[in-house]
């Protein structure tokens, strides 16, 4: 097997000049380590939070703002939240397969036994379709119904981790829990469920990454107990906080599930008709509306932190420098061996054989760089896990990134090897032999 012979030649050549080989592998590994670290974070942050459903989830937007006080200066962006009146009108129209309005709220929880200190947790106030629409998996019990919404039921669904903390993981359905000094009956416990990023909390004041929200409450029932949304924006003289439901304020996010393109276009025209109707009623000044798919919505709202994208760009610049560096060092090694190449050519090795020999050498450098680069990436991710960012604890290398590391390493080293291998295979045999 010629490949075995090239491998042997390459290893011999790499062993002959240990310092140069170490420098090449080290430089390539540093570049790859930096790239894989930043790409892992980028992938984590820009991934699809709910892959099986994201194509069906849409975010409608309306514009109730007065003419002299537009939501955005350019007029291009629509208000990113909805007023209670509009959200309820759209929900009660039932024009989508599923529809739910939601707000986030920091809530005070009291441990059930009465001992232990009260603590704050992230709560979601939502209408009934929230769970089936977002495929939230239940460990015990279930979510509430539209009838519970209407009757302002004092019920709650809690996250699995909260159930572990408060009830030791036992089935707590039917038990009571004290939230913001009101008693709620637990009707469901979720399995571990935390879409990354938390798309439904965008602009509502929740966290974007990290472990999921702790409690889920029926919107109207929780509001009846005085729970306040974390984010609200007024478009009138002031926000009447005692009557948020009728106030000139936007504080709800509305998501709808539309199974196919026909449903999307039907909903789009329904939304347009609704806005025009509101204009004719004098409630709205502008009839423009928007309906964005989940991934499109996250892109347009720049969910991925700018610094993370900058870091990925910087890491690629750095990898490029490392590749150029490897090209230079491989070339130096190869030119130094002109005589050896001359001898092999004179003994009958074809240009292709020489080319293959040098590419094998480059690939070995690449693989070694990949292995070491993986170590650097693990170190880098370890460093990121110690950072204060919300997503820090999630920064782990998954299988696809693990394999991707070797793809990057091989691609980088083979690209770096092309020029030296080409230079090597055009070496003319005769002058090299004469010179000696």
């Amino acid at each position: 097997m010629m490949f075995g012979y090239y491998l042997d030649l390459a290893l011999r050549s790499l062993r002959r000049n240990k310092v140069l080989t170490t420098l090449m592998v080290l430089a390539l590994a540093l570049g790859i380590g930096a790239c894989i670290t930043t790409l892992t974070v980028l992938k984590l942050l820009s991934g699809d939070p709910i892959p099986q459903k994201s194509a069906q989830l849409f975010y409608p937007q309306l514009d109730p703002y007065p003419a002299n006080q537009p939501f955005s200066r350019s007029g291009k962006r629509l208000p990113f939240l909805m007023s209670y009146v509009d959200a309820m009108n759209l929900i009660h129209a039932h024009k989508a397969e599923r529809q739910a309005a939601m707000a986030m709220s920091q809530v005070k929880l009291m441990p059930p036994s009465g001992e232990g200190k009260p603590f704050y947790a992230q709560g979601v106030l939502a209408t009934a379709d929230f769970f089936p629409m977002f495929d939230a998996p239940f460990q015990y019990g279930s979510g509430w119904t539209a009838a519970d919404d209407d009757s302002r039921a004092q019920v709650v669904v809690i996250a699995g981790y909260l159930n572990d903390k408060l009830f030791g993981g036992a089935n707590s359905v039917g038990k009571m829990i004290r939230i913001e000094d009101h008693d709620f009956r637990i009707i469901g416990v979720l399995r571990a469920w935390a879409p990354q990023p938390r798309f439904y909390a965008l602009h509502l004041g929740g966290r974007s990454y990290g472990k999921g929200d702790a409690v889920f409450l029926p919107l109207q029932g929780a509001r009846a107990d005085g729970l306040m949304p974390s984010a609200m924006m007024g478009y009138g003289k002031s926000i009447d906080v005692d009557h948020l439901e009728s106030a000139e304020a936007i504080w709800l996010g509305l998501w709808v599930q539309l199974p196919n393109a026909a449903a999307v276009s039907t909903y789009r025209s329904f939304l347009g008709n609704y806005a025009r109707e509101q204009v004719s009623l004098g409630r709205f000044r502008k009839s423009h509306t928007a309906l964005s798919g989940l991934m499109e919505w996250m892109r347009s709202e720049h969910v991925v932190p700018e610094d993370v994208r900058l870091q990925a760009g910087l890491a690629f610049g750095f990898l490029l420098i490392c590749v150029v560096n490897t090209v230079g060092l491989l070339l130096a090694k190869c030119l130094r061996r002109s005589r050896e190449i001359g001898v092999r050519r004179a003994l009958g090795a074809s240009r292709g054989a020489i080319f293959a020999q040098f590419m094998v050498e480059a690939a070995i450098v690449g693989l070694a760089g990949g292995v070491l680069g993986l170590c650097f990436a693990e170190l880098g991710l370890l460093g990121i896990r110690h950072q204060p960012a919300q997503y820090a604890s999630l920064a782990h290398l998954d299988l696809s990134m693990f394999l991707f590391t070797f793809v990057v390493a091989l691609a980088a080293s083979l690209v770096a090897g092309l020029l030296p291998a080409w230079r090597a295979c055009v070496v003319a045999p005769a002058p090299q032999l004469k010179d000696a």
């Binding site: 140069l20 420098l23 090449m24 080290l26 430089a27 540093l30 570049g31 930096a34 002299n68 200066r73 920091q106 005070k108 009291m110 200190k117 009260p118 603590f119 704050y120 913001e180 000094d181 007024g234 003289k237 002031s238 926000i239 009447d240 906080v241 932190p305 700018e306 610094d307 994208r309 900058l310 870091q311 910087l314 890491a315 610049g317 750095f318 490029l320 420098i321 490392c322 150029v324 560096n325 090209v327 230079g328 060092l329 070339l331 130096a332 090694k333 030119l335 130094r336 950072q387 204060p388 960012a389 020029l419 230079r423 000696a436």
Partner: protein, 401 residues
Amino acid sequence: MEIRPIFSSLRRHRIPALLIVLEIALACAVLCNAVFMIGQRMANIHWPNGIDEAGISVITVNGTDAKLAASNIPRDLAALRGVAGVTAAAAVTSMPLDQSPALTGFTTTPDGKTTVNTSVYFMGRGGEQALGLHLLQGRFFNAEEYADSGLKDFQSTAHVALVTASDAKRLWPGKDALGKQLYANGKSWTVVGVVSDVLAMDPTTSGPGGRYSSVFYPSQPDGMMGNYVVRSAPQDRDRIVREAVQTISALNPGAVVEGKTYARMRSDYFANTSSMVWMLVLVCAVMLAVTVFGIVGLTSFWVGQRRRQIGIRRAVGATRGHILHYFQTENFLLSTGGVVVGMLLAFGINLYLMQHYAMTRMPWYYLPGGAVALWLIGQLAVLGPALRAAAVPPVVATRSV
């Protein structure tokens, strides 16, 4: 130093020479932009703030009954003033850099428009001492103003307000701000004092216009005032935070009480920024190291290849200094080529970042700065191989390879 022989020698090694130029160009381009980003972020981390940052601690109380605020807040404040070492204490709605912005757009006419979001602070009696505000003009609030004011639906029911120096200049350029009216949402307030610039609650997202745009209102105790500002000597802060949290927790058993020094609040606010700075510094250092490796590697190879020529030059009378200078000059020429290309590239990257990211134009001096840095690094990298070349004895010339 004659440079023509260097050029003719480089022409014979076109590809390695171009690789060194390319590597230096890329390093220069990335270095200029990375250092620029580091500089910008360091400037953010050190934004000045017109309160006594070194002496302030903040005790945050959540989950109390808002209806009892009128009696609870004075009781809590009295207890806090009793903690040894506390020189002042007051209740406020929020703090600069606390990331929970309460924003309003203020204008100088009843129906004016503004694009600046101003952070709105409500402070209870004694707030100016507790925060350590610096009065530049006018006066602070008096006892009646504190007693008669409050907040309803996030708006002040007071008739007076304090503004920052930046806002005074922005809203009434060239005029005296004292006695002027501030308007927002159909209400108005008289400016009674101007204080030195206090940072916004979330200055990185409020933009340059909103960074020092803050308005202070007086207020009687209110349920919205969830923060107690406690002032002390800097060395007492940690103990005072501990004791204050204990005191307030004991007085409000159902509440969630947290305390931290203001220095800690600032470092929390800038935590992401400072980790980005460290990451940039690390990448720059490693990148420069890799560039040095590359130059060392290529030049060593070069020197090895030309041992014979060096020997001949030495044999015909060149001193060690000549040989050393030859390689140093050669590296200088290559670096010059690299930094010229690199500066163009750096400028191009900066333009790209300005279009796609919130980046400003890089000041011109970063470019020559980066150039000088890479010249020095090039010289440093070439020194080892050049010294080895200079050590080649003339006798090499007489040996047949």
